[in-house]
Symmetry: C2
Subunit: 182 residues, 2 copies
């Protein structure tokens, strides 16, 4: 998983995987069928980790907006820690996976949709207590946040991009979720 995360699918070879797992080709193929199998399993592992993290960050009893902020704070923090700038394996996969292999794209997409759904219920909650704007449906706001996450993942790779994601997050969350008085 780490290898695919760092180098992407195409730049990771079976030899790399063999060295990293200390499994010889035969064992690797017995366990995973083929290279795509290893990748699929890696996506699964990553997705389960993401799920756990999302549950922990978006859970709790704080106000919905605070929990969302906590999530994005963690994202910004993580981006700065990410010295290899590997970004998010699922986002990378969505971009790298060719259009002619839709099942991989779907797998990455579904894992991300879980996050989106989690955002949506949280936003709906905030809309009910008035702490989040109700001009637009919760689903739309959730999708906009997801787009923001994806965008940050790319922006982090821009020259000096990391220097600005903090303010981008603030602008995005405030602009998208804050109650509007017009």
């Amino acid at each position: 998983m780490d290898l695919f995360w760092s180098r992407g699918y195409n730049r990771t070879s079976m030899r790399d995987l063999k060295d990293a797992t200390r499994l010889n080709p035969g064992s690797l193929y017995a366990a995973f069928e083929n290279k795509q199998g290893v990748f699929t399993e890696s996506l699964g592992l990553y997705s389960r980790g993401l799920r756990r993290e999302v549950e922990s960050l978006l859970g709790g009893n704080d106000a919905p907006l605070d929990r969302i902020r906590r999530f994005f704070d963690n994202l910004v923090e993580g981006s700065h820690q990410d010295k290899e700038s590997r970004g998010c394996l699922l986002v990378n996969t969505l971009i790298e996976a060719p259009a002619d292999e839709p099942e991989i794209r779907a797998q990455a997409g579904e894992a991300l949709q879980y996050v989106e759904r989690r955002f949506e219920t949280l936003i709906a909650e905030g809309q009910r207590d008035g702490s989040i704007q109700s001009q637009r449906p919760a689903a739309t706001l959730a999708r906009t946040l997801m787009t923001g996450i994806f965008g940050m993942r790319v922006y982090s790779r821009m020259p000096d991009g990391l220097d600005h994601i903090r303010e981008i997050v603030n602008t995005l969350i405030d602009g998208t979720l804050a109650p509007r008085t017009n």
Copy 2:
């Protein structure tokens, strides 16, 4: 360029390029030095095209906000036309290019920064006439728009993602640029 755009750098082979250009290896190498040279040239060609398009879409005498809207309308329209879902070559490159080849990442990043700068001056103009919010610096708002563009490029690859980018764009532009009355 089309090949790299559709398949990415790693999945495009010199054989593919030879067939597409109808240039034999020797000629290809004489003209471009090597595969990376072809790619660099492709990035350049793409960037010049983007530049032209940005100039045309963001130019004119309409209100700044309308010109920005025109740009995003075009982006949404283009995404729906993009049957192969190739997205943006520069964004794809930013994600696919490994961290250990920074000059390619930089080339893609600089081309995108041109768009960002264009946004920034336009936003500053809108801030002066009050049609765009002034709570945050134009540079920050421009970066947030860029993040939105990048995010849409990814979101388009989500399952049914294309069905929602219209509303995402509206939410993003409105939330980011509209004057705030608090």
